[in-house]
Symmetry: C3
Subunit: 128 residues, 3 copies
């Protein structure tokens, strides 16, 4: 198991690592819309929160040598399922041709008042 | 990574693939009780929704050559934890001898007004 | 796939196995604060529930030969996100140097009135 950290990500706010790799598999922690400097996008429109959370997800993957095309599964936790179409639109734009398996889970609330949190599982071609 | 689609499943309603395989592992998207023709079971009794969601989960696995016995982990999202016993009863009937690890997660709501959503991780014996 | 049970854990209360191993990967079911004798900690303070749920998670891993350091990903479901700091404190104490990827998911409720449920994915060095 290799634990990695990404300077482009704000340091973990709790007892976890942003991205853990074991063999070909990469697991990320749930990513909120925290900017690299630690400030929050929680007060901004939903779309901005999604963009920052996805940027953080991709940054967490990157340190393990993985990109969007390597994602096998994404789980997105959203407050208010009415936000589903807006989430899907931003997600499609950011992910492009990558269409991993995905589950969108409505939740009553998220940490710091965020409306979106995202984690992922990826596979990279060979252990390094 | 092999992305697959199952004709017996309604096409994905968003930017995702129903089932993704990487090596021996298969990841499915969250499956709602959508019929293959795209119509919804959301207005039907809870048990009917569970049966359709499980049928979709198994269909998603099937295109990757996996069946119930190959499931390692299932996560079921349900509205109202009081539905737990009814979920477990239908699940046991459908799964039979297969008893993968499972987490049942109560949620405040689901897309299209569904009361159940299910995803899974499976392992098939050898990559193909 | 090897299905395992842990005598130190209360038998599964539904159609699932506490811990499933496939090759190097171990998947656990969602663990509540159920004592080995089947009695509940649901009425006790939040911290006690967290300790018992984590003890059960580690017991479930142990039967597959995995320990805290083998965990790749943990997902914790908590009622009331205000409990996040208290969860993180107990979790850090129990996990010690192990810092797997982690997602904390606020939920509206949990089975038996619990305030915390935890599952995990681990990797053990070689199949046995």
């Amino acid at each position: 198991m290799t634990e990695t950290r990404e300077p482009a990500l704000s340091p973990p706010g709790g007892h976890y690592t942003h991205s853990v790799r074991s063999g070909e598999l990469v697991f990320t922690s749930g990513q909120l819309g925290v900017r690299p400097d630690g400030t929050h996008t929680a007060g901004l429109p939903f779309e901005d929160q999604v963009r920052q959370a996805l940027a953080n997800l991709l940054a967490a993957l990157r340190v393990s040598g993985a990109g969007p095309a390597d994602l096998l599964k994404v789980t997105a936790y959203i407050v208010d399922v009415a936000n589903w179409p807006r989430f899907n639109a931003v997600y499609a734009e950011v992910m492009g041709d990558a269409r991993p398996a995905r589950t969108v889970v409505p939740v009553p609330e998220l940490h710091y008042g965020y409306l979106i949190e995202i984690d992922g599982i990826a596979s990279v071609a060979a252990p390094r």
